[in-house]
Symmetry: D2
Subunit: 349 residues, 4 copies
Amino acid sequence: MQLGMIGLGRMGANISRRILRAGHECVAYDVSPDSVAALVAEGATGVDDLEALVAALPAPRAIWLMIPAGLTGGVVDGLAPLLEPGDILIDGGNSNYRDDVRRAARLAEKGIHYVDVGTSGGVFGLERGYCLMVGGPAKAVERLDPLLRTIAPGAGEIPRTPGRDGAFAPEELGYLHCGASGAGHFVKMVHNGIEYGIMAAFAEGLNILENADAGIREAEHSAEVAPLEEPEFYRFDIDTAKVSELWRRGSVISSWLLDLTAAALHANPALDGLAGRVSDSGEGRWTVKAAVDIGVPVPVLAASLFERFASRDEDRFANQVLSAMRQQFGGHQELPAGDVLEAGGRRAE
Amino acid sequence: MQLGMIGLGRMGANISRRILRAGHECVAYDVSPDSVAALVAEGATGVDDLEALVAALPAPRAIWLMIPAGLTGGVVDGLAPLLEPGDILIDGGNSNYRDDVRRAARLAEKGIHYVDVGTSGGVFGLERGYCLMVGGPAKAVERLDPLLRTIAPGAGEIPRTPGRDGAFAPEELGYLHCGASGAGHFVKMVHNGIEYGIMAAFAEGLNILENADAGIREAEHSAEVAPLEEPEFYRFDIDTAKVSELWRRGSVISSWLLDLTAAALHANPALDGLAGRVSDSGEGRWTVKAAVDIGVPVPVLAASLFERFASRDEDRFANQVLSAMRQQFGGHQELPAGDVLEAGGRRAE
Amino acid sequence: MQLGMIGLGRMGANISRRILRAGHECVAYDVSPDSVAALVAEGATGVDDLEALVAALPAPRAIWLMIPAGLTGGVVDGLAPLLEPGDILIDGGNSNYRDDVRRAARLAEKGIHYVDVGTSGGVFGLERGYCLMVGGPAKAVERLDPLLRTIAPGAGEIPRTPGRDGAFAPEELGYLHCGASGAGHFVKMVHNGIEYGIMAAFAEGLNILENADAGIREAEHSAEVAPLEEPEFYRFDIDTAKVSELWRRGSVISSWLLDLTAAALHANPALDGLAGRVSDSGEGRWTVKAAVDIGVPVPVLAASLFERFASRDEDRFANQVLSAMRQQFGGHQELPAGDVLEAGGRRAE
Amino acid sequence: MQLGMIGLGRMGANISRRILRAGHECVAYDVSPDSVAALVAEGATGVDDLEALVAALPAPRAIWLMIPAGLTGGVVDGLAPLLEPGDILIDGGNSNYRDDVRRAARLAEKGIHYVDVGTSGGVFGLERGYCLMVGGPAKAVERLDPLLRTIAPGAGEIPRTPGRDGAFAPEELGYLHCGASGAGHFVKMVHNGIEYGIMAAFAEGLNILENADAGIREAEHSAEVAPLEEPEFYRFDIDTAKVSELWRRGSVISSWLLDLTAAALHANPALDGLAGRVSDSGEGRWTVKAAVDIGVPVPVLAASLFERFASRDEDRFANQVLSAMRQQFGGHQELPAGDVLEAGGRRAE
């Protein structure tokens, strides 16, 4: 089968490689001629622009966009006039599923099928394969089946879920038609929202372990905060790198994210050089907003997002307001920052 | 009626003043002779030590401790041998209610009544009166009624709750026997837990208003975070000092904490000089722990406590762990802090 | 001054009454002729349709919409062709500020000024006045000043904020021009978001008090949950109606919402007949979504929203998933709902 | 090596089996003679009481308690007088680490070593091995090394963490000396706290997917809640069983808990018969309380705990309070539960 690939960044290139290795054909385009050349060396057909890409593919075409979400709209607009009814346009990037819903409706008027594919796998995808969450018209998704199956991880060595037998279902091979246009990115969005929650659960728990020596360090504590009440219970000096390695085996929380955590802490046990200002991508935000829209409570997912905001000092004004309120309790005098107790060490609340 | 007062910090002194102004007698002691002298000048009888205090009061005595919670245990132990059956020992400080439960049981063996009084009012208490949450044996609390009534704010000009009529109940005068020993500080503890939640609600809301100009400031945003998706909806330049003043009148959220907020923001609209490192006292922590003990969900109260912790960078290791995990997604390369995107601006998750 | 009022529900009618009582003129319209007649009896000019309303007001007009947010768009569309450049259209309802931004831009093309007014006050507004948060072009808002001043509560008996003196600023009278079109409803939205947080803080705290007798009730607890570890600390029988009345006087958390709580609990101490399925309006949701958009952490405001969702069983599937996972720990056997412990009373995690 | 095992429930019996299969000796005791007999049939030496168990083991002994946490204290008290200096007492149950700290200090006075072992593995532990988190004196833990190594999973087929090479460290074999007495159960406690967070992340995310059809079901929504604003974005019919299977392969959130989720949803896609009343054991609570003690923010872990409380209706009074407050907004009239809007469909806030 033939696939046109637009965007040869790491993920686009690696997906193309999986396609080529499986014996499919790939017509590849990127703004960087070097990226195109690299893939041509591995068997792809290289082209110089979108027109050439469309021309190199016989109808009905399948063209996969693997470009930054911010650029997708423009490229779709540029491609649409070049396409014919029956062609399939695939967005494998990190688009907001709402854009899929809108684009699919617009393209459907021209008979073009729009398929959105949420793609998970990161830097390990070339070897492990990519987990593919697919949305779009059933017939178009069916036509893509040989490609999706190639890009996906396959059944691998993962133990089969009890009760499943016979031929592997697509979801057991690592790809799934999740529903109508947008469903692929919707499922991927929720996937990332869950990822934020899991990451936060590990981070919070490890933070407790890291501070389990509070009863030893207590003397360092300033008068600013409530003193540790039972220091005898917090005199543990725990090696978080070893603990995270330990939990990889036999424990209920073993997971790929734990694997990554163990690797990171082994390489850099004190996490030197990391400021702890944590970025967030759109998916975590969209997940919370979607949950709010449909009235589903997501306290954990939202808390994990807000922790990231706070890690970047986005809570600054709120905290200043709290300090200011507390100054008011203290009788309107201006106290130096960091010393908001009354002289006698007693709060007036 | 006579009251012995131990501890003449601001609250102890002001409670004594309310007692004296109402025509009661007050025997006063403090480690600082100057504090004693100041109150003697206003009509109190001053004493030099605990023995003299006990000697100056005829049995059955009523003695009020208004000292830092950390010292209360020692003073109670020192006083107990000097007291007689029928005497009442009152702890008006910020003790953990668990200490009350333990102390009351121990003193009851000697026939001494232990009464715990959670006291709210801050620097305004001398004029406004103090809201008193009282725990202990009913008979002892009844005997203290004349004093409690004097210290409390009274009915004041606050509109009466619909359905209440006739003589004012104690709770309408600002004091209440809440239950057995410990109940006073338990109710005060929950009061402070609620206070944390309310303060956080205002702080978070004002933080949204302060950042409602994000669509104007957008250019400043780095590539580190998700870009603002619809900047046209965040182009407001809102004066939080004026808004908090506004809400004091006619709005559903008018409250004393809003009054304080409006005062703080009027005095210092940009909250200059405040680092936003927010202290917490024991009560907020005890509230969450009590809720956990009895299985009551308190997501809001807990979140308000955790925000304070995070304001003091207690989330640091957790955030470093998150950054470290995200580096792992990026292919094991060490990226400089604050730049955890891949070169192409695309995350690999 | 003249005002056209469209929508004579309780708030529209009461705002009209405050206008009329102050000597202004009011031309009133409602779909219900009875509502119009009632207001005519109090001095308004009644009209039968929008055309008549516009005709009865000399240009430049000021027309206030006080109708359900869902209808506002249609009425604005119907009114726009009837209006002239320089006319002011005021939306006093609960619109999403995003609709204001869009509508203001559209009407500005025709020279019509659009002013959005967030209105707080509830059933007490007729006497107390309404807190008004106003967005729109400065000149239009200035022209409305006499009306806004009349509708607002005025300075009242609320103590003046320290540092403020001289003539009262508008915000001290209960109305404020908050910024460009949409700013009024934006501030009102955040106001309601804060309100959710405060309500939740009270509700959670009172729930702790209500369950402070867990150590007495312990025997009733099933084997389903962790047993109470230190029952001796939870043997309080606390009267939440009295406590909430108590806190109204002298305490840090005194507030109008506490007044309402005290009234509700006095009228119905056991809250009989209340199912505790808590509704939410749009503002709480929009607040969280706005915070997510601009990257402001709002764990307390979000938690208060999610509690409402959960109160309506919107957490049902999530909880079933948790139960299902826990069954898997137990060895794949299907246990009856409510009994997810192993036979030996020991969990296998 | 010899081990005495007290408590032959599933975990105690399976740990004994792993010991026996590795060629160690096991002296076994349980209150149930049948349980003892079953293990004797597999090679253990059975005894009838604690005295016989101690007598059957030459000093210095190693005795492992695998009994419900509530019974551990009594058994330790019963065993202590029978033991000699140099003996090791191991608590492999779910004890609170605080009890370990206290017990270890008491037993140390008699020269008895107390070792606490947090054990994870569930029903799969017999084959997979148990992840062991160990606390106690270094010398005692070293002596137990042959046993711990046998009980633990070993390196298995799990890919080695990058940067690790040479002989396997104990944590790579699935057991770790985490620190002083109590450290084992402390780490296990935090492990379970993290587990709660991960479970909640999955549950919340799947709940969003389950309700992604809200735009289709919209007509069913009552007037009680805010209407769905953009139903066109919530018209997905997503199969959560298939999605959770899908995510097992190649995705960032692949994990053992996801494996369990996929199995549960495959067996029972609608989760029929599950009431969603989710139990919690002590560890989740202790984790939050420890974090509060040492001032570490854990919004995600706490939220996951509170969700479980709420799933069992422990939020009931709080929700009733919220409904009661909202009734007050509505003008004091008593509205039927579930209908807290004003007649006109407009809230008065």
